[in-house]
């Protein structure tokens, strides 16, 4: 799984044109991955200001406005790719247009089955 992080402040400071261009490049890139059978799905996320977090407090689920943790870079989207090993994923991520646009991508394996 590719977790795509963006500095929300930098992202807002980009012109709308730049943001749309990065978006369009990403759509084209993922379309290429989909055709080669690697891409399993993904989506961009709305701004972190729309986030709501639920956690247990004194035995009750409590909702708070905002993300799980306030950080400079927030989760901005995700993608799922199927690859044989880490090197294959890293070679895809290294070519990702959003990395070139200054965003960061965290690669995490999806666990199969129950936790061990």
């Amino acid at each position: 799984m590719l977790l795509i992080y963006r500095d929300e402040k930098l992202w807002e400071e980009m012109s709308a044109q730049q943001r749309v261009a990065a978006y369009q490049e990403t759509v084209d890139f993922t379309e290429g991955l989909r055709r080669s059978g690697v891409y399993q799905g993904g989506a961009p996320l709305e701004h972190v200001s729309t986030a709501t977090t639920v956690r247990m407090k004194q035995g009750k689920p409590v909702m708070t406005d905002g993300p799980f943790a306030e950080t400079k870079e927030a989760l901005g989207g995700y993608g799922i790719v199927e690859a044989k090993d880490l090197d294959e994923v890293l070679s895809i991520v290294a070519r990702h247009p959003l990395v070139r646009a200054g965003l960061s991508i965290e690669v995490r394996p999806i666990r199969e089955g129950p936790p061990q």
């Binding site: 044989k84 090993d85 880490l86 090197d87 890293l90 070679s91 690669v107 394996p109 666990r111």
Partner: protein, 405 residues
């Protein structure tokens, strides 16, 4: 050869093959451990087999098959049953040289933390125990054990592949491997703390790994440069400290005690590395500089002009302030202390080396040679505020007393 010696020298080769055959670091390590125990039991009475490496791999493979069979029966795990059947069907596996490359590229994968890369490389290819590695890096054994366990877990979970990177990625990945090998060497060579034996072991391990890279990737010039650099430094190992553990400067070292054979080997490798590397890489150039020093019959006969020229090239391919500082010293020795001092002062004003004690050390040494003792004392004092190594501290205090009196 002694069983323990085989354990040490062949550990990497055997484990590398077992990991490929068994597909798992832990299974391979356990199996190898059991095979060594079997060897300790059987060889003294039955005699050593003709091919000890093949014997150990074969025995370890059988031990692993037995273990997987027991585990598969117990847990009814489908994947382990399948792996077990697969293993039974496979031919006896002979080690191939490529196995050790697979192993070192996996251990030195950039997705692992550098300290984990170092530990894993020494553990798997070097056959050092977790306790030995912990002692060498002055961390508690439990910390080191956890570091290694975590790294192996990441290799498995993140699927770091057990393979030699393809051509276009190879150059970059080989650089990462060389960084680890040179780190191991420097840990053994530069540290003034800890057990001398442990540190020698680290230098020897690094040189062994360097030899392996040269042997298995002969077309890569820079790995020859790295091996040459380590051999040339290591040739002077015995003369760098005196009986009391104090630093002996290069110019005061007893050149008769330098390891001539090792210097010749290093110098020959440097020539290859300089000729084949286009352009020559930073290790080859540093090795060339070390070769000029090592081949000078006396300190006074050192060809400083050539060393300065080599630093010029190095500063172009690897421009760092530390290289610039070394270049300044070479200029001082070949073109005059004043000119070198001007370059050092320029670097000093740049501010990038503010916390690097060797800048005020270089400045102080040049001022001392120029007879400007008050200024030299001031620089020695500044260096003393920054230095962390005890042997270096004692050296600087001695110099400070000289110029202050």
């Amino acid at each position: 050869m002694h069983i323990e010696e085989i354990f040490r020298t062949e550990h990497g080769r055997i484990l590398a093959t077992l990991i490929r055959v068994l597909g798992d670091f832990d299974v391979a390590e356990e199996a190898l451990q059991e095979a060594f125990e079997a060897a300790l039991e059987q060889w003294p009475a039955a005699g050593m087999p003709d091919n000890p490496v093949a014997w150990l791999i074969g025995t370890a493979r059988h031990k692993a098959i037995d273990r997987l069979r027991r585990r598969a029966r117990l847990a009814q795990k489908q994947d382990e049953i399948a792996r077990h059947l697969e293993l039974l069907a496979e031919e006896e596996e002979a080690p191939v040289p490529e196995d050790r490359l697979r192993l070192i590229f996996t251990c030195c994968h950039p997705a692992l933390a550098t300290e984990a890369q170092v530990a894993l490389t020494l553990r798997t290819l070097g056959g050092l125990s977790t306790e030995e590695i912990a002692r060498a890096f002055l961390v508690p054994a439990s910390t080191m054990a956890q570091r290694i366990v975590r790294a192996k877990a990441k290799i498995r979970a993140a699927r770091i592949p057990y393979q030699v990177p393809l051509d276009d990625a190879l150059t970059e990945r080989l650089e990462a491997v060389m960084v680890v090998v040179y780190l191991v060497f420097n840990e053994g060579y530069a540290a003034s703390f800890g057990d001398r034996l442990v540190r020698h072991e680290l230098c020897d391990q690094a040189i062994r790994l360097g030899r392996m890279l040269v042997e298995l990737l002969p077309s890569r010039a820079e790995s020859k440069g790295l091996l040459a650099l380590m051999l040339l430094h290591d040739a002077r190992r015995e003369t760098r400290l005196d009986g009391a553990g104090d630093i002996v400067l290069l110019e005061d070292q007893d050149r008769a005690r330098w390891d001539r054979a090792q210097i010749d080997e290093g110098a020959e490798l440097v020539e290859f590395a300089l000729r084949e590397g286009r352009p020559p890489g930073p290790y080859a150039l540093q090795a060339a500089i070390a070769a000029v020093h090592a081949q000078a019959p006396t300190a006074a006969a050192t060809d400083w002009a050539q060393i300065a020229a080599l630093y010029d090239v190095l500063a172009r391919v690897h421009p760092t302030p530390v290289v610039e500082l070394n270049r300044a010293v070479a200029v001082a020795m070949s073109a005059g202390f004043e000119r070198g001092l001007a370059l050092v002062d320029e670097l000093d004003h740049g501010g990038e080396l503010d916390s690097y004690h060797l800048l005020p050390v270089a400045r102080a040494e040049l001022l001392r040679r120029l007879g400007r003792h008050t200024e030299a004392a001031e620089s020695y004092r500044r260096a003393l505020e920054l230095v962390s190594n005890d042997a270096e501290r004692r050296y600087l205090e001695r110099r400070l007393r000289e110029v202050a009196s």
